[in-house]
Structure formats: C-alpha cells, structure tokens
Amino acid sequence: MSELIIQTDGLKKYYILGSETVRALRGVNIEINSGEFVSIMGPSGSGKSTLMNLIGCLDTPTEGQYWLNGIQVSDLSDDDLARIRNQEIGFVFQTFNLLPRATALHNVELPLIYAGVGAKERRQRAKEKLELVKLGDRMDHRPPELSGGQRQRVAVARALINNPALLLADEPTGNLDSVTGEEMMAVLVDLNNSGQTIVLVTHEKDIAAYSKRQIHLHDGIVSKDFLHDKAGVQA
C-alpha cells in the first residue's frame, strides 16, 4: 500500500530573467507514498506550480534529484519523459487546457492516441471515463459549449484515461465558483478513496481540507508538512 511514489532531494529551480535570478524553488525535499492525497499550499509565488511542473515531468530542475516510482527522472530522455507524462501522470490544470476545436470525447482520447491505442478501444475507454465524471451526455460537445465545471471534469477524465499512478491538479478549482469547486473536490475524494494517489495545489484552506496531508511552501522551501483531519486541523 504505502510504497514511495515521489521522492525529491534538494530540488531547486531558478529562472534567470536578464540580470536577475528568480529562485522559485530553493531545495525541496518531499516524500509521497502511493494512495496519499496531498495538498500543496502556500501564498502566491511561493513555488507551488513550479514544484508541480517538476513532479509532472513538464519541466526539469536546475538542481537536485527527483525519483518517480524509484526512477531517477533527470536521467531520462525527452522521449522517456513524454512516455511518463503519457502513462504515469495525469495532469489537471487551473485553465483546463482542453483543445477548443475537439469534442469532449476526442479531448479525453488524446493521451491514448499518443499511447498508440486503437480507435475502438480508445473510444470505449474515453466513454467510460466521461461517464465516471458524469458527462456521459456531453461527449460530443466542444469545450466552448461546456460550463467551467464540466470542462474541468473533462480534464479529469482525460487525466485518468491511462490509469496514471499519479494525479496532479494545479488549482483545479481556481476558475470555478465555490459550489462547482466543491463538486470537483468530491470527485477527487472519490478517486482517492478508490486508491488514486493525488497531489493538489491550492491556496485555499477549505479546498486543502478535502485532502489528508498538507505540504506548505514558503519562498521555495517546505515550511510545514503534516497530516490533518477532515476539518483541516493538524492531527
């Protein structure tokens, strides 16, 4: 149950803007086991998204190590990273990042296309995931024809399509109203209850309360890391 899925050692990420260096992450050490539901919290600019992008293999660290499922990610080639993003990681973004001209179904199918899955199986699996997020009746709609909450659920279905080891969500409720946001969190809680490892970025206490553990970032460094109860109070 509790095998190590994420392990980082002194992760640093610097951005060089002209003569100025932005130290977005200044040495982050975290360990996350499979089955966990973790919130990464912190004020705006504290490096939450930067950390998420490193964990999601969308970006590479300036310094430090990162093991995903025991594999040293910094050793991998671009193609291997693409395969990991495709197979091991499901990413949900604050701004949804759906293809506007493709139907919900096609958007959900997309990772399977790059995984080389045949058209028939692709359709079948995409339908199942859309039904799981209760969008079975919106499959042929394009993102502009869907509400924010529906779009984010399409994005969740897409993130889950390859049954990833890790579901990452960067402020998934940031563009949703509070009711829709709570619905979204209910979906994530359900997923976690059925064993899905989830790492969530948020700056809202209420949202973090849905998870089981909080990691607080401050100026690119972990300031707090604790398990909490349903009210978000440290155990």
């Binding site: 992008n53 999601g56 969308l58 970006d59 671009d78 193609d79 693409a82 395969r83 993003r85 495709n86 197979q87 990413f91 973004f93 990042n97 759906l98 293809l99 001209r101 997309l110 990772p111 296309i113 790059y114 995984a115 080389g116 899955v117 045949g118 058209a119 692709r122 897409r158």
Partner: protein, 404 residues
C-alpha cells in the same frame, strides 16, 4: 493510428483557414501549373518539328550560299549559287546524287477573276522525287520543259481551290503567274501540313522558266538540293559536293567554303536545341515560382506554429513526443503543398489544353513533367516545412503551455 490523428489535425487546421491555406498554396499552384504547361508547349513544338522533318526526307542535303572569303577573312558579300553549280554537281558526282536547284519567291497568281498569292518554286523534275511529291491529275514536267524554258506549272493540291476551281478541271488550262500565261501540267497529291514546307499551297515551275520569264533573269538560286541514294552515303556525298563546289567557286584549299551544306537532321538538331533551351528557360522560371511558393508555405507554417503554441504544449503535456509534433507540422506543410500540387496539375493540364485550342498551338502533356512537378512540390513541402516543424517540436512543454 497516430498518423491518422496527425492527418486529421492537419486537415482540420487547413480547413479552419480555407482562404489562408488557398492563398498560401497559390505559389505552388502557379509554379506546378506553369511547369506542366511550359513543358507541354515545348514538347508539342518538339513533336511538330520531328513530324515535319520526317515528312521532308532525311537524305536530302541543302546547299546554301555562304560568305565569300578573301585570304581567310569574310568579306560580308555572299557568293551566288548558280544553275551552273547545280549542273556541275549533277554531271560530276558520278550519278550518285539527284540534284535540283531552287529559285523561289511569293508571286501573284490569277485564274479567270480569281487571284491568289503563293510561293512559286523554280525547280528541276528531280525535285519531286526528293520530297515524295506525286501527281494526282495530269503529268510532271520533264527536262525538255526545263531546257525549253516552257511556261508550264505543277500545282499543289490546294492551289486550284484558292483559284476558285478544282484540280482536275484546271489541268490543261492556263493560269497567270505574275501576269504571264502558264499551262497547268499537273496537280499534286495532298501532302498535308509540313510546317515551313507547305507543298499543298505552292506552285512548281521549271528553274529556267522561273529565272528568265518570272524573276527577270535572276541568276542567284535560293538553294540547291541534293538527294543521296542512302543515308549511309551521306558523308561521301558531303565530301563530293564540297570538292565540286570548291572547284567551281575557285576556293583555295584551306580557305573557308563560300557555301554551306546541311542535312535535315542538322536542321532538326538546330530546332530541337532551340526549343529545348526555350523550354528549359520557361520551366526554370516556373520552378523559381515553385520555390517562392515554398517560402510562402514556410512563412505560414511559422505563423501556424506560433498560433498553436498552446496546443503544442497541451499535446506534449499529454505525452506527445518530439517526433509526433515534428510530423504533425511537417505533414501539414506536405498536405498543403500536395494539395497545391494537385490543383496545379489540374490548372496546368487544363491550361495546356486551352492553349492548344485557343492559340492553335500543339501541346503534349508529359507525364514525367506532371510527376516531377508533384514530387517537387512535395519536396518543397518537406524542405520548407521542416524548420517550422522543428521549432514546434523543440518547444519545452511548460513554456508552450504558458504561452499567451
């Protein structure tokens, strides 16, 4: 299945911007159609020349007057070719050559109240054999007519009609050639259009008659024709003619001859070289427009990559490899070029057809040119598409996702 998605995306992108795509491919369309039409024109001209030459008989040598030389320097004057030269060739070649001088000019013909302006050639009877001109009605003139400077004429098959009558009726009657009465001895069989040599429209009279009765004592011949018994004997005949005429014209050995001897295939060669140069030139210009078209494709692909940076980011985040993105944009460029190529083929083949109808210009669409032009346009798609595609493929996923 990835290739299907790639094609689908390419077609969607092209369809999403139909007008832009069309304008982009316009360069390719024009280039491909121009190449095809130009080569079709050139090929048409080429075939026509070959056809004409084959009708003319390839074992006939044409002797023309050249420049007089004085101590190795061209004087600018031309030495005349005369009937005496022709006679010398006939008499001293040992019977291996069939010779006819030719004196020709356009002249007014009249019959009753009809008038016509035609080429009149003063020739010997041997002339008809050289060009396979056969009598349909009446008979040929012979050496006797030549010696007697007789006013007799052989008409091409179409001349009678131009004079408002028919060949069979005209035989035995008199027509006016430059105001003088000529008896029509015979009418030739139809020969068909043979380019610059159109015997159907021409009138043939004895050389002597032409010289003294029609052209007012003109000595200077247009040419002398010499038919060689076989194509194999061509080189020997060439040497014979050169030797005989040099003696006639008193050209010193080593000096340049003041006449030229050419055979039909020289003529074909000269014409072929000209049309080929011309075709290459036109096709080259067309090819340049293809390259310009390619630059247009590259430009629009760069725009497309920029516009779709976010899409590239999304696809990469979901597991698209560099190669998948590279192919996506490369194939889009290829599809664009290929569509342009196909449209270009249609326009080019259609244009060649229209040209041949309207301008009455022979065109032959060459399949190789079509394939080459299509291949070339695909190659241009590859060549000019690779750079934008590489730019797309190299994008870092997170930078692409952040792009506004």
């Amino acid at each position: 299945m990835l290739i299907k998605e790639i094609l689908r995306v390419a077609l969607t992108a092209i369809r999403a911007n139909v007008l832009r795509s069309f304008l982009t491919t316009l360069g390719i369309i024009i280039g491909v159609s121009a190449v095809i039409a130009m080569v079709a024109l050139g090929e048409g001209a080429q075939r026509r020349i070959e056809e004409q030459i084959s009708k003319m008989g390839t074992n006939v040598l044409t002797i023309r007057a050249g420049q007089r030389h004085w101590g190795g320097v061209a004087t600018g004057e031309t030495e005349d070719l005369t009937v005496e030269d022709a006679e010398a060739l006939r008499d001293r070649s040992g019977g291996t050559l069939s010779i006819s001088p030719e004196l020709s000019s356009r002249v007014q013909l009249a019959y009753l109240r009809w008038n016509s302006n035609n080429q009149v050639r003063g020739v010997w009877p041997e002339y008809f054999g050289m060009y396979n001109l056969n009598i349909e009605h009446g008979e040929m003139f012979d050496q006797g007519h030549v010696q007697g400077r007789r006013r007799v004429a052989i008409l091409g098959s179409a001349v009678a009609e131009e004079l408002g009558t028919t060949g069979s009726l005209l035989v035995g009657n008199k027509i006016q050639i430059r105001g003088q009465p000529f008896e029509v001895l015979g009418v030739l069989e139809e020969k068909g259009d043979a380019g610059w040599f159109r015997p159907d429209d021409e009138v043939f009279i004895p050389t002597s008659t032409a010289q003294f009765r029609v052209f007012g004592g003109r000595r200077r011949l247009s040419s002398i024709y010499a038919q060689v018994s076989s194509t194999n004997a061509m080189d020997a005949a060439f040497a014979d003619i050169d030797r005989i005429l040099r003696r006639e014209h008193k050209v010193r050995p080593g000096d340049n001859a003041d006449f030229s001897i050419r055979n039909a295939s020289d003529l074909i060669g000269a014409f072929t070289a000209t049309t080929q140069t011309f075709t290459m030139l036109l096709a080259g210009i067309a090819a340049i427009s293809l390259i310009v078209g390619g630059i247009g494709i590259m430009n629009i692909m760069l725009v497309s990559v920029t516009e779709r940076t976010r899409e590239i980011g999304i696809r990469k985040a979901l597991g698209a490899t560099k190669k998948a993105i590279l192919f996506q944009f490369l194939i889009e460029a290829l599809v664009l070029c290929f569509m342009g190529g196909i449209l270009g083929v249609i326009v080019g083949v259609g244009g060649a057809e229209v040209l041949s109808r309207i301008a009455n210009w022979d065109t032959v669409v060459v399949p190789e040119a079509v394939l080459t032009a299509l291949g070339f346009s695909a190659g241009i798609g590859l060549f000019f598409g690779i750079w934008p595609a590489q730019r797309a493929a190299k994008l870092n996923p997170i930078d692409a996702l952040r792009y506004e």
